[in-house]
């Protein structure tokens, strides 16, 4: 494979990984801020405030887990592609 093409493939992998990483963080930030608005209102109502706080905490933990797993899978896929491209480069050198 042409070294320039290989560098471009590596660059595309890197950019895709960065886009998913930063994109998921941005969406998570918006999701959290939007949900917080609702929880702030519910947590101010005496009959449901305790329950709302519990749900809020559970929600935040699940939210972090879901977006974190998206980033985790993204990093794994990125690492696999890095290895594949390194093998392609080695094969070309032989």
């Amino acid at each position: 494979m042409n070294p320039r093409t290989l560098a471009q493939l590596r660059g595309a992998r890197q950019l895709f990984e960065e886009a998913v990483e930063h994109g998921s963080r941005a969406v998570e930030r918006v999701h959290r801020a939007t949900a917080d608005r609702t929880f702030v209102v519910l947590e101010a109502i005496p009959p449901v405030e305790d329950a709302a706080r519990v749900v809020h905490r559970v929600h935040d933990v699940v939210l972090g887990g879901v977006y974190g797993s998206v980033r985790g899978v993204n990093r794994v896929v990125g690492s696999v592609l890095t290895v594949v491209l390194a093998e392609v480069a080695k094969k070309d050198e032989r």
Partner: protein, 308 residues
């Protein structure tokens, strides 16, 4: 596929090229002369292979934001470079670069590239003509500014610089983007903040277009407003060179021309208001996209360049 990929990468470079360069991404263009879509090493043997019939008069063509050298290609397959070769004996060299980098950085890189090109050129260079389209004209100006500061030998070979549709006094579209981003930042809504984050991804090169910032120090003086920062540009045109400007307008009507310019660059900006311009030609009815590949513009370039 190759050309389409190059166009897509050029857009990517213009949009986020500063990030690509910072992270060492292989999608970032490195500045180099390109022949048939491939970079040419700045060594005598490589330059000879790329151009077996080089002449002592050369022209260096510099494309604009999110472009490659392909932007100069006319439907006939000719471009200003090939026409300058066939009709006036110039050897054309097309420079490709990462248009998302600061204009000052690209100017310094072009200045270094010209050092190497002139020292390694297959035949000694007697005349260097610079031709920049849109942002490319600002890169040319930044390069001449860099060369003047360190007395680079290549500058002594330049008699004339041609700027086609160059926003010498900045681009109001970018200034509007700056105002909009700042306005969105002031709204405490997560969705608006997300949109502001996306808008702020604009590359440094793109942001430099707002006020035509040619030096790093000019960027510290940016203001979030639509109007021009100064009545005069902080970097004057070098008085030793002849500066030929080409501007277009969407409409021949003077009011519409003054209002919309060539659709991207206002007439006052493309005609270098406040700068000591040697020659200026305005083409009514020619939009920004038509300027780099127009036979009308070529006729004017030919007339200027044929003059000793």
């Amino acid at each position: 596929m190759g050309r389409r990929l190059d166009v897509a990468l050029a857009v990517l470079n213009g949009a986020v090229g500063d990030h690509l360069a910072r992270t060492g991404n292989g999608l970032a263009f490195a500045m180099a002369p390109y022949v048939h879509g491939e970079p040419v090493a700045l060594r005598r043997d490589a330059l000879e292979r790329a151009c077996p019939v080089a002449t002592p008069r050369i022209v260096v063509l510099v494309h604009g934001l999110m472009n490659t050298e392909d932007i100069f290609r006319m439907p006939s397959g000719e471009d200003y470079g090939t026409l300058l070769r066939s009709q006036l004996g110039y050897t054309p060299w097309y420079v490709r670069y990462n248009s998302g980098l600061p204009i000052a950085d690209n100017g310094a890189s072009l200045s270094s590239l010209l050092d190497a090109l002139l020292s390694e050129h297959p035949v000694p260079v007697t005349e260097l003509l610079l031709l920049g389209y849109s942002m490319g004209g600002l890169v040319v100006r930044a390069a001449t500014h860099d060369a003047a500061g360190r007395d680079a030998p290549w500058l002594r070979k330049v008699r004339r610089a041609v700027y086609v549709g160059t926003p010498h006094r900045g681009a109001p579209l970018e200034r509007a983007g700056r105002v909009l981003t700042r306005a969105m930042r002031a709204i405490p809504d997560p969705y608006v903040q997300l949109a502001a984050d996306l808008a702020a991804l604009r590359s440094e090169g793109l942001q430099d277009l707002g006020d035509a910032d040619l030096r790093h120090e000019d960027r510290t003086r940016r203001t979030p407003r639509l109007g021009l920062r100064d009545a005069r540009h902080p970097v004057p045109l070098l008085p030793a060179l002849e500066h030929c400007l080409v501007a277009g307008t969407l409409s021949p009507d003077p009011w519409l021309a003054a209002l919309f310019g060539d659709a991207v660059v206002p007439l006052r900006s493309a005609s270098g208001a406040g700068l000591e311009v040697s020659r200026l030609r305005v083409f009514p009815g020619l939009g920004h996209a038509a300027l780099p590949r127009s036979m009308e513009v070529w006729a004017q370039l030919r007339a200027w360049c044929a003059t000793p």
